[in-house]
């Protein structure tokens, strides 16, 4: 059947719509007033009977083609558990009104089909049928109820589409996370092998010239860089699916910090690290993860500033409840637009995309680690003069055994 119009049968108000639209289809086809009325009456009788039993019926009105003959057709679908007999008066009368009346029972729904053959004199063709379909597409609501009903349908449709879209996005997101996790694992094995063979080759002293050794050193360094990128990718994917786990322990902050500074001096050899400590406190941290935060912030400070410039790391004890670490550089700084988005995943400032390599994962990971430790992270920056990254770690207790240890430690270490 070529559907011209559909009406859901929910309550008595729909009878009016069913009747009016049946009349209209018949009228547009060019049928006589008598036939229009007969057809519309049959349809509304069946619609009434269905509404008496359920609010879940559906009426389709359209044209059916059988070779060169057409008929006007109405099909009412309803729940398969509903059975009509001639005791239902509407069911009984409707059968008398239309020439063809067919009740069929299907797997999920039952349906009643009513048909009136159309005379050839109406000269029906696809153009005319198209015009009828178009009439109902453009049709104004027949009454206030119809208007609300149509709006409801539109809203339902939009809500459904949005739900589908959300579901699709979620599936894609999960797949992406899973892919990153698998891919980074698969990439790690060959990197391990390359790194090991590189080191092995460097160790073959008598067979390896200085020039080859320099090349192998470079391969080694780049392999390490590649590995850290893969680690970051894996971290991001773990954060996404919530499987990032921390192994926390209570540690004295200052000795841990001193260790970090020593490691960083090795990682950023072309910058001068100047640091200050506060009174020592105990913190509950995952040392490896916290080292990641330090190396990210200090690595960035070095990456975005000139060689041989200072990087200041200051520690402050705030209200005895937080330790705040400030990492300050005198580098290129950033715009206010960048400071607002710098901790977002994969964010990279427009002006550094071409000049500095990176994937925009480091600060996202660092901010997540800091947040998961109960601290916060933020940045102050001015374009052209440098940036200060601050982050905090909650204090568990004071290390009373080492009051002023900060100062002594400072003297000893430097």
């Amino acid at each position: 059947m070529i559907k011209a119009v559909s009406i859901s049968l929910e309550n008595e108000m729909d009878l009016v719509l069913a009747h009016k639209r049946s009349m209209k289809v018949a009228e547009l086809l060019g049928l006589t007033m008598a036939t229009q009325t007969t057809f519309a009456t049959a349809v509304s009788e069946i619609a009434r009977t269905v509404i008496e039993h359920t609010d879940d019926g559906l009426l389709d009105i359209g044209i059916e083609q059988n070779k060169t003959r057409y008929s006007l057709s109405a099909i009412v679908n309803f729940d398969k558990d509903i059975k009509f007999t001639n005791a239902d008066s509407g069911f009984y009368y409707a059968q008398k009104l239309v020439p063809e009346f067919l009740l069929s029972e299907n797997a999920n729904t039952n349906s009643i089909e009513m048909k009136i053959g159309l005379p050839r004199s109406l000269k029906l063709d696809h153009i005319k049928i198209g015009q009828i379909k178009k009439y109902f597409l453009d049709e104004q609501p027949l009454n206030a109820y119809d208007e609300i009903k149509q709006r409801n349908i539109t809203l339902h449709k939009i809500a459904g589409e949005q739900e589908d879209e959300l579901r699709r996005t979620k599936i894609i997101d999960e797949k992406k996370t899973e892919f990153i996790s698998i891919a980074s694992h698969e990439i790690k094995t060959p990197i391990t092998i390359i790194k090991a063979y590189t080191q092995l080759a460097k160790g073959l002293q008598d067979q390896c010239s200085d020039q080859v050794k320099t090349i192998l050193d470079k391969v080694d360094i780049q392999t390490t860089k590649l590995m850290s990128l893969v680690h970051q990718l894996l971290d991001v994917s773990k954060m996404e699916n919530g499987s990032l786990q921390y192994t926390r322990e209570q540690v004295a902050f200052n000795p841990f910090f001193a260790e970090m500074v020593e490691v960083m001096k090795y990682i950023v050899p072309h910058h001068e690290i100047i640091f200050n400590v506060a009174d020592d406190v105990y913190v509950n941290i995952d040392k490896l993860r916290m080292e990641q935060v330090f190396s990210n912030l200090i690595g960035n400070a070095a990456k975005y500033s000139k060689k041989n410039t200072p990087i200041k790391i200051n520690c402050y004890l705030e209200n005895n409840s937080l330790i705040r670490i400030a990492v300050e550089d005198v580098g290129i700084g950033m715009s206010s637009e960048s400071t607002a988005s710098i901790f977002e995943k994969f964010y990279r400032a427009k002006d550094v995309v071409k000049t500095h390599s990176g994937l925009g994962m480091g600060l996202y990971i660092a901010s997540k680690i800091v947040a998961d430790h109960g601290g916060s992270i933020w940045v102050e920056s001015k374009q052209g003069t440098g940036s200060v990254f601050h982050f905090t770690i909650p204090v568990i207790s004071h290390n009373t055994a080492s009051i002023n240890n900060g100062a002594t430690f400072n003297e000893h270490k430097l």
Binding site: K188, A196, Q199, T223, H231
Partner: protein, 120 residues
């Protein structure tokens, strides 16, 4: 007397490198791509076991094997170092009772130092 190290690693290339390096350091190396070699542990009687966490299917993973070794009185004494590229290796090693761990990709120097430290 020469110290003996059992290396269990399913990737043949990594196994080859480990074997090469450890032999160069003067150890006797028993190399296996399969974790089931640990069933003959008493015959091999190594001074140290270097074992990958992810081993070939079917079969147990390195940390699972470690749990079993550490639960039996006659195998408990063999020191185990786990190898892995997993980020949570520290926690995993602790959980299965391993005596140490080395993250992949490993630095050969770090590896040999760790082995030396564990074996004496």
């Amino acid at each position: 007397m020469l110290k003996k190290i059992l290396v269990v690693e399913d990737d043949p290339d990594i196994l080859e490198i480990l074997t090469y390096i450890l032999k160069a350091e003067g150890y006797v190396v028993v190399a296996s791509e399969d974790g089931s070699v640990c069933q003959h542990l008493l015959d091999i009687s190594p001074d140290l076991i270097l074992m990958d966490v992810r081993l070939k299917d079917p079969g147990q993973n390195g940390d699972e094997i470690c749990v079993q070794l550490k639960s039996q009185p006659d195998t408990r004494c063999f020191p185990v170092i786990l190898l892995s590229a997993e980020n949570d290796l520290a926690a995993r090693s602790k959980a299965c009772g391993a005596n140490g761990f080395i993250s992949k990709p490993f630095d050969l120097q770090v590896l040999t130092e760790k082995v030396r430290e564990m074996i004496t």
